[in-house]
């Protein structure tokens, strides 16, 4: 139990009268990039939103490195060390790339500035576009900025919601390469529909269906399990 950096136990959430998460339970070990898979509407994004505190949890328990975090405000959870990259390129379009990075730093200390350097080494495009409005960036660049934003703080867990959405296959590959770099620094929890990217990054997986975890295991086993992929992911 103590080895898990993040544990969800029987999480239930509602949006209006809809019962979105119906008892999500899973554990993530520190340093193990974990992928949440499942069809549209299975509850993957809602699970991430529940963890960061944007969707109120009705019942259940979320523990992050030993502390209970459900019911806390998103900013408190973020300050505890949970980074969140929202769906649809979570960058501020009217701010420059520089401002996007600055607002993401809890404190502008040397450590954070070093991490900015790491981000810029990882995504050289951002350096070139440093003073550009983020709205002018391409889809792939925006996604890189979104991930870079979350990375400037020393988050122990990084929740990333469907980074490949709407990106060209070659850009998805570049993204995958950079996520592989990042997973050495933090524990990534990735929601992804793109199986190729998911298998590039993840070692553990959980499949969600109708607001519940229905299957779990190692990513490398799932890659060969055509039946399971067909049943829950519609691929294979």
């Amino acid at each position: 139990m103590a080895d898990f950096i993040l544990s969800l136990k029987e999480i239930h959430t509602y949006i209006a009268q809809h019962h979105i998460l119906q008892g999500v339970t899973f554990d993530v070990s520190a340093g193990q990039p974990t992928v949440l898979l499942g069809r549209n509407g299975a509850g993957k994004s809602s699970t991430l939103r529940a963890i960061i505190g944007l969707n109120p949890v009705t019942s259940g328990e979320i523990r992050f490195s030993g502390q209970t975090i459900q019911g806390r405000k998103p900013y408190e959870i973020a300050r505890l060390g949970v980074g969140y990259v929202a769906e649809d390129r979570a960058v501020f379009y009217n701010l420059t790339v520089e401002e996007n990075m600055r607002i993401s730093m809890f404190e502008e200390n040397t450590q954070a500035l070093e991490r900015v350097e790491t981000v810029l080494a990882l995504f050289p495009d951002l350096k070139r576009l440093w003073r550009c409005n983020a709205g002018l960036l391409s889809g792939g660049q925006k996604q890189m900025l979104a991930i870079g934003r979350a990375f400037v703080n020393d988050h122990r867990v990084l929740l990333i919601d469907e980074p490949s959405k709407g990106l060209a296959p070659i850009v998805v590959d570049q993204l995958g390469e950079s996520l592989i770099q990042i997973k050495n620094h933090t524990t990534i929890i990735l929601v992804e529909q793109n199986f190729h990217l998911a298998s590039m990054v993840g070692t553990d997986y959980f499949i969600l269906d109708d607001g519940r975890v229905v299957h779990q295991g190692l990513m490398q086993d799932l890659e060969d399990d055509q039946e399971l992929k067909q049943k829950y992911l519609g691929i294979g």
Binding site: I52, G53, L54, K73, P74, Y75, A78, R79, Y84, A86, A90, F92, Y93, N94, L95, E99, R102, I103, S104, F106, G135, L136, L137, S138, G139, G140, Q141, R149, N153, A168, I170, V171, Q174
Partner: protein, 340 residues
């Protein structure tokens, strides 16, 4: 990826240019159009009056637009904050200072001190009521525009009645400090002294707001929050506290607006808030909800056109602002500088 970026930049840049040019042409045209019917001397008098009026409107609209942009709250109670600022800063404080002989026959220093103290008292009064309104009233209606309009409109009416209980239902005379009485006569062009003061305060307020928005971390958070509140929370900022802070500052600006307004009008009455909330709404909508620069431009447009049209066709004066608003919204439904 590079070609994708290039086409994206091209498209956005050309869109941006068309927008800027539309604004430039519109704002220049509206300045000179009235010269066809008005002789130049009168035109300059009307223009300074219009600019002063515009700056006074901006003081009210600035807080309203920031509050809407960041918090997505339509705050009709802004009129109540304006009225309270007028009564506390303009009426109560200047009458108090008059007892020491500072206002009606004071020296230049006393005049300037009176105005600055009045602004301060107006701001504090607005801020205090604003803080309470946000904590007690607005907290419960976040995310529901209809409820916000209903309850804040209610606050405005209740405060109007409270004002009557405290200060009476009749208009009261507001004193103008010596230095700001009368006008300058520059080659037959009559420019009211207090109008100049109002323009200076308005421009200073605009510059101050822009400075804070563009150069400070708080401004960065507010600008980011206007765009995406959730992302600001997820980035580790306590949005609730920022909301209260911004609301209080917006309320203080309304208080300053009220103070300046009633000195400008040389009188104050309980319905002052109800009347001005209409103008403020028009300015905020023309400028684009959430944009301070938009409100600044919108206020100038409304102030100038109101004065020109009042001179030419007095009956059309209030109507013309609504006409301008409708025209702008037909062309740009999101306002001059608002988000598409």
């Amino acid at each position: 990826m590079n070609s994708e970026a290039a086409s994206g930049e091209l498209e956005l840049k050309s869109g941006f240019n068309a927008k800027t040019w539309a604004i430039r042409i519109a704002s220049v045209a509206i300045w000179f159009l009235p010269l066809i019917w008005i002789d130049p001397t009168t035109y300059i008098v009307l223009t300074t009056a219009g600019l002063a009026f515009g700056m006074l409107l901006f003081m009210v609209a600035a807080g309203m637009t920031i509050i809407f942009g960041l918090m997505d709250v339509l705050n009709m109670a802004h009129g109540a904050l304006f009225a309270l600022g007028a009564y506390c800063g303009g009426y109560w404080l200047l009458n108090l200072l008059e007892k020491f002989g500072w206002v009606a026959y004071g020296t230049a220093t006393q005049s300037i001190s009176s105005i600055l103290l009045a602004i301060l008292v107006g701001a504090v009064a607005g801020a205090m009521l604003g803080f309470i309104v946000e904590r007690v009233i607005i907290r419960g209606v976040y995310g529901d525009h209809l409820k916000q309009i209903m309850i804040t409109m209610g606050v405005l009416y209740v405060m109007t009645e409270v004002t009557k209980i405290i200060w009476g239902a009749n208009p009261e005379v507001v004193l103008v400090p010596t230095m700001f009485q009368g006008s300058y006569d520059i080659f037959d062009v009559i420019v009211g002294k207090f109008r100049l003061a109002a323009i200076i305060v308005g421009v200073a307020m605009f510059a101050g707001i822009q400075l804070i928005l563009m150069k400070t971390k708080l401004g960065l958070i507010v600008r980011a929050g206007v765009e995406n509140r959730e992302a600001v929370q997820a980035a580790g900022y306590n949005i609730g506290r920022i909301f209260t802070g911004v609301f209080t500052v917006g309320a203080a600006l309304a208080g300053v607006g009220g103070t300046m307004w009633c000195i400008f009008q040389e009188q104050v009455y309980p319905e002052i808030g109800l009347e001005n909330i209409i103008f403020a709404m028009i300015v905020v909508i023309i400028g684009g909800l959430g944009s301070v620069t938009g409100s600044f431009l919108g206020a100038i447009i409304v102030g100038l056109s109101f004065n020109y049209v009042s001179f030419l066709l007095p009956k059309l004066a209030l109507g013309v602002n609504i006409l301008i608003m409708a025209t702008i919204l037909l062309i740009r439904p999101w306002g001059l500088m608002g988000k598409q």
